[in-house]
């Protein structure tokens, strides 16, 4: 048994078990999430030790069969999903966490299916196979959105699923055209696609589908509602991981496409800049905490997409390595933020930003985790966000791309502005807290949020590891 086949099979098997029996869902889900993390570490170690591996499923070589490409980029993404997953599972396993009104055990099969689909997606080297993994991911993510069972969540879930299906169908149309143009659909065909008009249209369709799924401006319309009306654990997964799957595929295609994918990268960078400004503006004006964090995801996805767009393919790896580091940093920080917001809202009974500083309640661990995550999102040293932005700006200055540098700075300033709206209210101890104010209790959610926020910090100090892994990427 190799790690690759186990890491895609195990979550799916666990999803079946947890769907079949709500009684064992929690222990099985926790064990499977932990085992997945262990497998992810083994996989990364193997990639570091032995280099990239290609597994032909069933022994059939591409293009007839499907291949798993286990390289550094895939390993980094699988590790990211595993780490965020552990934190979210810890939070979800807390009995006192308010969960679904529809079905108390429903979180686990949906989460495990998400995990299995993401692992499969990161390993897959076949366009049609990517489409199928996106469908699992989309359905499971919609289930997570609808978990609370409120009318608002259900409506958001419906819009999410129809937007997601439209995105998948665009992707499928692109894959069909890729088949028509090149006769095959494995990823090795991407360079050939950039050489014909039909192939370029097909790649454009695929990117459009991915943009819907990644909620990239201006196709982000479904996202703030979905991410802000879901349960905290679900929002954390959706925002930190599910959105990244589409960005990952865009990166993979952009790397494979090389110089021929340049027009698509320009479009991505432009859309990213738009997303950054639009998302920041709405985050500045949001009156609810969850909505602010959801709009901040639009902005951050924009920043990542901008970084991917300005990266000139595989030839110069600095810029896209920076983009991947920003993805990791955003995954940890945003998951921490959503978990923290869930805890804050639980203690306060609401999530209005104007009512964050109350006299009878002292700030607790969740507020602290939010602040640390905010530091990482803004990109202050020593966080991963800082390292990512530093490398990005350095690379941009090297090629005299001053407009993009200015945009990255503008995005940073805006993110500092909207996040400080919350942080300044959260952490003010001062005179307006009454002497006898109670402290919020420690919960599993605090531990998970703090753990993730600290991971985002530590990732900045230990960013050599992801960079070492990313060097072993097949392009």
């Amino acid at each position: 048994m190799t790690e690759a086949s186990l890491i895609v099979s195990l979550p799916l098997l666990a999803a079946v078990v947890t769907a079949a029996s709500a009684r064992v869902a929690r222990p099985v889900g926790l064990i499977a999430t932990a085992a997945n993390a262990a497998l992810a570490i083994l996989l990364a170690r193997r990639v570091l030790a032995e280099g990239a591996q290609v597994t032909h499923l069933g022994g059939w070589e591409a293009p007839l069969g499907i291949a798993f490409e286990t390289d550094g980029l895939a390993a980094v993404m699988i590790l990211m999903a595993a780490i965020v997953g552990v934190a979210v599972a810890v939070q979800a396993s807390d009995d006192r966490t308010p969960r679904s009104a529809t079905d108390p055990g429903a979180f686990w099969p949906l989460w495990l299916a998400t995990l299995g689909a993401m692992n499969a997606l990161f390993l897959s080297a076949d366009l049609f196979n990517l489409y199928v993994t996106f469908e699992i991911l989309g359905l499971a993510a919609v289930g997570l959105t609808a978990l609370t069972g409120t009318r608002r969540a259900l409506r958001a879930a419906f819009d999410y699923l129809s937007a997601g299906l439209a995105g998948s169908l665009l992707l499928l149309l692109g894959v069909a055209l890729a088949y028509a143009a090149a006769g095959q659909v494995d990823l090795s065909v991407v360079p050939a696609l950039t050489e014909s008009a039909q192939g370029r249209i097909s790649l454009a369709l695929i990117f459009a589908g991915l943009a819907v799924k990644a909620a990239l401006f201006p196709l982000h319309f479904w996202m703030p509602a979905a991410h802000s009306s879901a349960a905290p654990v679900a929002s954390a997964l959706l925002s930190a991981l599910v959105v990244k799957a589409a960005i990952y595929v865009a990166l993979r295609l952009s790397l494979d496409g090389g110089i021929g994918a340049e027009p698509l990268r320009v479009a991505m960078a432009a859309a990213g800049a738009g997303a950054m400004l639009w998302g920041s503006w709405h985050a500045l004006r949001a009156d609810r905490l969850k909505l602010l964090v959801a709009h901040s995801t639009v902005a951050q996805v924009g920043l990542i997409s901008l970084a991917l767009g300005v990266a000139p393919g595989a030839a110069d790896s600095t810029l896209w390595h920076a983009a991947v580091l920003l993805m990791l940093s955003h995954a940890f920080a945003k998951a921490a933020m959503f978990l923290a917001v869930g805890r804050i809202a639980e203690e306060l009974g609401h999530d209005r930003i104007s009512g964050l500083n109350r006299e009878e309640l002292r700030p607790g661990a969740a507020e602290f985790a939010f602040a640390v995550a905010a530091v990482s999102l803004i990109g202050l040293p020593p966080t991963a966000g800082f390292v990512g932005k530093w490398v990005l700006i350095e690379g941009l200055i090297d090629r005299d791309a001053w407009i993009w540098v200015a945009l990255v700075f503008a995005g940073t300033v805006l993110s500092a502005a909207y996040l400080s709206r919350v942080v300044s209210r959260c952490l003010r101890g001062g005179p307006h807290v009454a002497p006898g104010a109670r402290r919020p209790q420690w919960r599993a959610g605090d531990v998970a949020a703090l753990g993730l926020a600290v991971s985002a910090l530590l990732l900045g100090l230990g960013s050599a590891l992801p960079f070492a892994l990313l060097e072993i990427t097949v392009t």
Partner: protein, 299 residues
């Protein structure tokens, strides 16, 4: 035959247009189902009988039934069109331009090259002689496994959402004899499709859909045991397909060292065994997607 193709596609487009524009829900769904059948015919004309069987059973049959169920519950069409006449015309022009561009892109391509010779060369080693089954269950079995996962996740989602279950009502004297003839026939046909899938058009999906049709006839006729335990059993059966497929993939890796790589010489046995369990699981899943789970007590 070109004339037939043209008439067929014109009819198809007309039915699809009716399905998407008629104000009456039932009429629109009827047009949709007819369009589904015409599409199945188109697949036959495009030399894809496996897809045609699946389209007739799943695309037209199950989807049509799902739409009819929901139409009754959601009620008549509400909400006018987005924007006015001019918006509609603008959208029509945009969509028309897009479809012209698509036609140009697709018709300008040269057609298949690498796959058919590769499939033909490896068909011998795949264990089955129907090339579509060879692709689905051997060459690209990973796609099919994930597709079963999509079904399982949809099932979990529908169970979580818990739509109102379909309650069978007394449907009159003729339904019982109808079910008595159709259900055994469905089982027979499903078994035949499953077995024949190895050599000729057919396979797990088609067989599963036919079996689901038979099961639905039973449910609608109100025959047979109903209740929480049966639904629970169907749920387990529906989920079991994915577990069996993943288990088989891992077991094959244990035996041959290749994920989803069946042992040489026994490919056909493995494929038929996997397909048989998939058939039952697909039938149970499709049936539950239609009927919904048992209503939960707190609602």
């Amino acid at each position: 035959m070109i004339a037939f193709d043209i008439v067929l596609t014109l009819g198809l487009l007309a039915c699809a247009a009716m399905a998407l524009t008629l104000r009456d829900r039932t009429a629109s769904i009827a047009a949709f189902v007819v369009a589904g059948l015409l599409i199945a015919l188109s697949w036959v004309r495009l030399a894809a009988p496996d897809v045609a069987l699946a389209e007739a059973a799943i695309g037209a049959g199950v989807t049509g039934a799902l739409f009819l169920r929901s139409a009754r519950r959601i009620g008549p069409i509400t909400g006018g069109p987005v924007g006015g006449m001019s918006a509609s015309i603008a959208a029509a022009l945009g969509a028309g331009g897009l479809s012209a561009a698509l036609f140009w892109a697709f018709a300008g391509t040269s057609g298949p090259v690498p796959y058919p010779p590769l499939v033909a060369a490896n068909l011998e080693a795949s264990g089955v002689t129907n090339p579509v089954t060879a692709v689905l269950l051997n060459f690209r079995a990973w796609d099919t496994l994930l597709e079963i996962a999509v079904l399982a996740v949809a099932l979990a989602l529908v169970v979580m959402l818990g739509p109102a279950p379909v309650v069978p009502r007394a449907l009159g004297e003729l339904v019982l004899p109808f079910a008595r003839i159709v259900v055994p026939l469905a089982i027979l046909v499903a078994g035949h499709l499953l077995w024949q899938g190895a050599t000729a058009p057919g396979g797990a999906f088609q067989a599963g859909a036919v079996l689901a049709g038979g099961m639905l006839a039973l449910v609608l006729a109100g025959i047979g045991p109903a209740g929480e335990r049966i639904v629970r059993g169907a749920l387990l059966l529906g989920l079991a397909g994915l577990a069996v497929f993943v288990g088989a993939a891992l077991a094959a890796e244990g035996l041959t060292g290749r994920f989803l790589g069946y042992p040489a010489g026994a490919e056909k046995a493995w494929i038929i065994a996997i397909e048989a369990s998939l058939t039952l699981s697909i039938a149970a899943t499709l049936c539950l997607l239609f009927t919904g789970p048992v209503r939960r007590p707190h609602q």
